[in-house]
Homo-oligomer: 389 residues x 2
């Protein structure tokens, strides 16, 4: 018996629109087939959110075929039939004997297919930056007449401007993020273990809001005193105490799309230093939001933030954010001084204003934002305050 | 102010023992410095479990230094000071301008350090299989006199035989896994959304048992009808129904170490096909366990499982398991026919007997196991039954 299709998150026309943009880029670079192996790019082009990237996988986009062909380990093929928009013949499970095989792997099946397609003497796109060196070498060795073209970040750039359908999904993810921020304010209390509070917050991320659950767990960082100068450490078995500060970064997820948010909590009255930094950061955040509009650059947003913060006597060393979507951080535009990427409607960013000032002191605030036709929409909407518990 | 050390999971002597094994392998291959970038290997050699692998990072093990030197993005350095056993001078945060820089990245700082160490004309180990092709090319271009030696899986093989200290941590992780399996049997009910049940199960994985919480979230797969022929699909927003089958794979985690387990649940009476497969799989699992002892091979275990299952009229296409530890699946020994890796005391495996028979039918059962001095210890201990709810 075969497995049926899941309810589709996006209509077929949306995937064909995305594929058309990829094929236009392929035509521009004279590439007839593109091997996509980045999992986020595969989600973008097919709707697939299951795990199969732990072993070789490849989505082959050919200029000759409307639908791409997806190669993966055979036992993962039913999930691809279920989740993707493509027809049954476009999902190819490669045999189990290629797992932990001393000489061959799933990429050999992808290469066989490129030969069958008759493109082995043409331009072939590879996401080489995502592939181990020996895999790139294998493609070159087995396709000696092909002109290999690097497409590592090409689809990430195409993903930069979202459709209205994608924005709607990101709003759903942001609503979950907001709920988790508020849940944190309820469960962070003196004497509670960090792990127990984290479990409650993750529970909200999974149960979701408005009848729409979280569909995957993304990273969550709960950095509590004495770890508030760290940014990516896991929760611990310590308990919160009077006077503890907690820096929280989390992101609700819907169908692959994430909408992160950061907020800072204080058990008891915050220190003067923390209050002053919070006030300065919120003022600077608002200055950054005012700088967001089509035609402005990423750099403009960072300049607005940095100059405002400096006037208040503080400084943030790291960039002010990055492109956002299926990846928490898309490897394209950065909200940093000197990044001249022009803002366009429906670009989305994590305006990430975490500021790790000293080894033992940091503060976090952020919003997921969208560039609109004339300014900015803040997707996340939790109170922009220092939560005093 | 500086950040202090976290309570250390392992004593310094344990890390030095692991490093000594790595340095012995380096000496054997005439390598004077090894650049470790695999996050699990860094956890193994330092105790670090924070996230910094989203940008370039490298742990340099030099034959001349007792402690390794860890390069990472500057804002992640406090977490490394806090978690690792090394001295302050062994943690080097590289500057923020290397993030999203058009030409340089953190690996340039690692290469600078290799030059300072004076090993640029010697043997240098790289985990090339974990590195993008252009990073490997950069090492070769900037270190033209070095003899680059591939160490991709060397540390993974060294990790294969655990210390008693590691086994104790894995027992803690396994106890969490067992609790989550039992929690699933309480919360999976007709009319409950998959996402809500998943949230409860993850809550147990995070809160842990015996006062020992889970320290990170590893993957969890809850594949319910009609998705029981899939193995790595996320939970959905569907509700469970009378007659639903649920295949669950999860793993408690303690300080980086994971101990996975799989069990199958049926809401209402299971079908005859499911009952027969379950009985056959449990009998075959027990046959596999009997084959585990020092001196036997991975292949012997798979043969014991496969022949028993075949006698009952079933077949499992995929391998019967894989090495286990900090990674859910260590990329070394496989429990499959033909893998002649010899079992040694304190090797650990996920005896993974998930069997995806058809696109619309599968069954899962597994145990995390340890090879003892004379046989096998089953780390996970949840009832080895088909849970009928």
């Amino acid at each position: 018996m075969t497995i049926g299709k899941a309810p589709q998150v996006f209509p077929r026309s949306e995937y064909l629109r995305r594929l058309a943009a990829v094929k236009a880029e392929m035509a521009r670079r004279e590439v007839e087939a593109l091997v996509v192996n980045n999992a986020s790019h595969i989600t973008y082009l097919t709707g697939y959110t299951s795990l199969s990237a732990y072993v070789p996988q490849g989505l082959v986009v050919s200029v000759r075929d409307e639908e791409p062909t997806f190669f993966m380990r055979r036992m993962d093929a039913p999930a691809a039939h279920h989740q993707t928009f493509m027809g049954r013949d476009k999902i190819v499970g490669y045999p189990e004997d290629l797992i932990a095989h001393p000489e061959k792997d799933g990429y050999d099946k992808v290469i066989d297919f490129l030969v069958e397609l008759g493109v082995d003497g043409r331009g072939i796109g590879l996401e080489a930056g995502n592939l181990p060196a020996d895999t790139v070498a294998k493609f070159k060795a087995r396709l000696p007449k092909a002109r290999i073209v690097d497409f590592t970040r090409a689809i990430a750039w195409i993903r930069g401007v979202k459709s209205d359908l994608e924005i709607e999904i990101m709003r759903e993810a942001a609503a979950i993020s907001d709920a988790a921020i508020l849940r944190a304010a309820e469960v962070i209390r003196p004497g509670v273990r960090e792990a127990d509070a984290a479990a409650e917050i993750v529970g909200t991320l999974m149960r979701g809001v408005n009848g729409k659950p979280g569909t995957a767990l993304k990273s969550m960082y709960l950095c509590a005193s004495p770890r508030i100068g760290t940014c990516h450490i896991p929760w611990t078995e310590d308990v919160f105490r009077d006077g503890s500060q907690i820096n929280l970064e989390l992101g609700g997820c819907r169908h692959g799309y994430v909408a992160p948010i950061m907020r800072t909590y204080s058990i008891g009255a915050p220190s003067d230093r923390l209050k002053r930094l919070h006030d300065a950061q919120v003022e600077s955040l608002e200055a950054a939001l005012k700088a967001v509009r089509p035609g402005a650059t990423c750099s403009d947003v960072a300049v607005a933030f940095n100059r405002t913060l400096e006037k208040a006597g503080f400084k943030k060393e790291s960039r002010c954010g990055y492109a956002l979507g299926i990846d928490w951080s898309e490897p394209t535009a950065s909200l940093k001084e000197g990044d001249m990427t022009e803002l366009k409607p429906n670009m989305t960013f994590h305006l990430m204003l975490g500021n790790w000032v000293d080894e033992d002191f940091g503060y976090v605030i952020s919003e997921s934002i969208r560039v609109t036709g004339s300014g900015v929409e803040t997707l996340t909407g939790a109170p922009r305050k220092l939560f005093v518990l």
